[in-house]
Amino acid sequence: MNLSKSPEKLRYLFTTDHRIIGIQYLILALTSVTIGTILSLLMRIHLVWPDRILPFYGPILPEDYLAMVTIHGTIMLFFVLTTAPQSGFGNLILPAQIGARRMAFPVANAIGFWLTATALLILLSSTFVPRGSPISGWTAYPPFSAVASAGPGQGLGMDLWLASIALFAIASSIGGINTLVTIIKLRCKGMTWERLPLTVWGWFTAALLSVLAFSVLLAALLLLFCDRHAGTSFFVPTGDIVNGAIHAAGHPGNGSPLLWLHLFWFFGHPEVYIAILPGLGLTSMLLANFSRRRVFAYRTMIVTTLLIGFLGILLWGHHMFVAGLNPFAASAFAVSTMAIAIPASAKVLSWLATVWRSRPHYTTPMLFSLGFVSLFILGGLSGPILAQPILDEYLHNTFFVIAHFHLIMALAAVFGLFAGTYYWFPLMTGRMMSETLGRLHFWGTLLGAYATFLPMHLTGLMGEPRHYAQLTGVSNAAGHLLAGTLPLNRFITWSAIFLSTAQLFFFANLLYSLFRGSPAPPNPWQATTLEWHPAMHPNFPLEASEIVENPIAVYRQPCQYQPTPTGELFLPQWSPDATVDIKPE
């Protein structure tokens, strides 16, 4: 697949080929992540140097800051962490990994991509409408999000946000259905459920969650839209007075803001698992691949993937411990939340056991997978703290929470994406990515990530709340409390700048490897999963006659390696009886 040689570029643009759609999704996510990162940098800089004037713009006002928060959160969660692993790699790699020639519904797939792209454009366009983007965060709690006069950006900007997220929800549901049917129906001969690579299990569980959760979000958006424009009061209570005007005066209503919280988090919590589940699967596979080992406790890993998905829809209430939830319900949600620590710990134990005394090959994808493990441990362990209502009462909506979810969800998932990019780049382009630049990128990112997010735990413990547009110039005792966090915050901002700068290695690597990378040998990683079948390789495609002669079939679980006196043997899933010799490096 060589894009540049095609005479008909438009055909590639509106293609139904899953692999090109996957790359389109990845490009969309890369654009989004760049925008989201720039926004986060602006926020960090504004937080510690609030008087700086933005070139070509002017001073950053509090509403600008909150608009950046909203767009950063929305773009990162939806258009990066959901789009890239689930839709990007889920299209590029998933069919190949199960030995399918295509996705189950190629046209729906293309429609899904164009809906997503439209959603992104609508979201970004909210920046340019009068009064700007919404300022109520990606969670859009009503009545703040329901009443246009509650703040700048809550008018047209908020409507655009609603339209964008509604389109995204529809696109993700379509994508989820497509993924599920593909995995259930299009597996090749011999690809039993137990032989499915764990990445596929991750995509499968995430797709199940997409199908169940996104339509609930859609319903919530519909109700919110009615509250905003039809004068109903699903979420706005009677007598709610914003900016001196009583909302929907004259219409009786039983509106409850908590109803939105329930509906939103019923979607929102599965959503964050949609972001991380493919990464969990990929990490298991890559660690085993580069350790030349089986995945430890393969069947348990399948079960824990499903269990994390299942428990993921039962614990939305832990976002609402101090939101006015019944304290008894909080206790119940605390138990279900703590329960998810167990399958998550099982994952970590399996990773540790897989690499234990394995002397792995430290390629860049392996480094990022090890980084994933480290981030998942450190970010995950603060989860049980926040799951305890009595401690959440102190830490809720502080930077402790920010640190927690950025480490475990954002950065861990991004490490998964990086690992996937370095790992599968040869399949996309026929070239290897540069290992030197990759190592630099990894160490820069890991250092930067920890330097940025570990201190946030501390400012959170000091009591710094989220969504504060500035820490200086605040009156009363609060000003004293916030000022105390400034030294650490300056350090965090410098670290964030360092972290973002380290990403230049990645871009450099992408560009360099795209044009100058060394040609990829067949199966460069000695991988055992089907996407590395010789028929898939861009440089050495098998002759059609060869494939007809030997149709692909699967004979074993992935990651089967055997030691021999002379070296190691690896047994790809597709090979019926041959093992392939690995020459010692």
Binding site: V181, L223, S233, S545
Partner: protein, 257 residues
């Protein structure tokens, strides 16, 4: 890193020379084919119908529509749970009296008639669907001996679409009747939900009628029997589900206000 392939005795030699009708597009594993797929175990001959053979595509589309309907069900579940939350939420007025604004929106009796129409339409749709799968005639049509099953299914689908329109008109009349009693969308929390639920369901039915139209056109245009069967099958499962969803919503509106 050149790799060489050396046979070992770890796994018994097993080879299936299966005729693959794929012309080999080059870089894609040609395994999603009529004669394989579905990820069965090694016991290749021992598989259930639908994983291979003529019904493979049908089953795939049917599964897709089922997942889509599951997703849609969650949409209605969310609205119904909002219904119950709103119903049980009150507030304290200025005099510290607990007020619940919820009053029952009386169901216009025509809804019973509409429900009957919708059930009837589901029956006609099922007749159409079964016509498309009538074993003996399927063989005739597959062999190219005319279009016996398609011709027999078309009137039933048309009847279903007409009944669907009748249902929608009935719903519209119900709205008009409520409006004459001065019950509007904004009158009361319960009327919010009455209009919202009937409206959202109505939009789903409009989509369903478009689906039926598309199927009708497709039956004339499509030259593949399997495609014709798929169109009717998917349209009918969607239609049945909208019927079942309506039954739930109707019971909710009648008995749970």
């Amino acid at each position: 890193m050149p790799s060489t392939i050396t046979p070992t005795s770890t796994e018994p030699k097993r080879k299936n020379h299966v005729e693959d009708h794929d012309n080999g597009s080059g870089r894609r594993p040609p395994t999603d084919k009529r004669t394989g797929g579905g990820g069965e175990g090694d016991n290749y001959g021992d598989r259930s119908q639908g994983n291979h053979g003529p019904r493979e595509r049908l089953v795939r589309y049917r599964m897709g529509i089922f997942f889509a309907l599951a997703s849609d069900l969650m949409f209605f579940v969310a609205i119904v749970s909002s219904f119950f939350v709103s119903q049980s939420t009150g507030h304290f007025d200025a005099y510290n009296n607990y007020v619940n604004e919820w009053t029952v929106t009386t169901i216009p009796p025509i809804l019973w008639l509409n429900t009957a129409v919708l059930i009837l339409s589901s029956i006609t749709m099922e007749i159409a669907r079964r016509r498309m799968f009538h074993e003996v005639d399927v063989m005739d049509e597959w062999l190219g001996l005319g279009k016996p099953i398609t011709r027999r299914a078309i009137p039933w689908i048309a009847v279903t679409a007409v009944l669907g329109v009748v249902f929608l008109v009935g719903q519209w009349i119900a709205w008009e009747q409520l409006a004459m009693q001065h019950v509007f969308f904004l009158s009361n929390p319960s009327s919010h939900f009455f209009y919202l639920i009937t409206g959202v369901h109505g939009i789903h039915l409009i989509l369903g009628i478009f689906g039926l139209m598309a199927a009708l056109i497709g039956l004339y245009v499509s030259r593949s029997l399997e495609s014709r069967q798929i169109m009717v099958d998917c349209a009918s499962w969607y239609w049945h589900s909208m019927g079942v969803f309506w039954m739930f919503l109707f019971v909710l509106l009648v008995f749970f206000q």
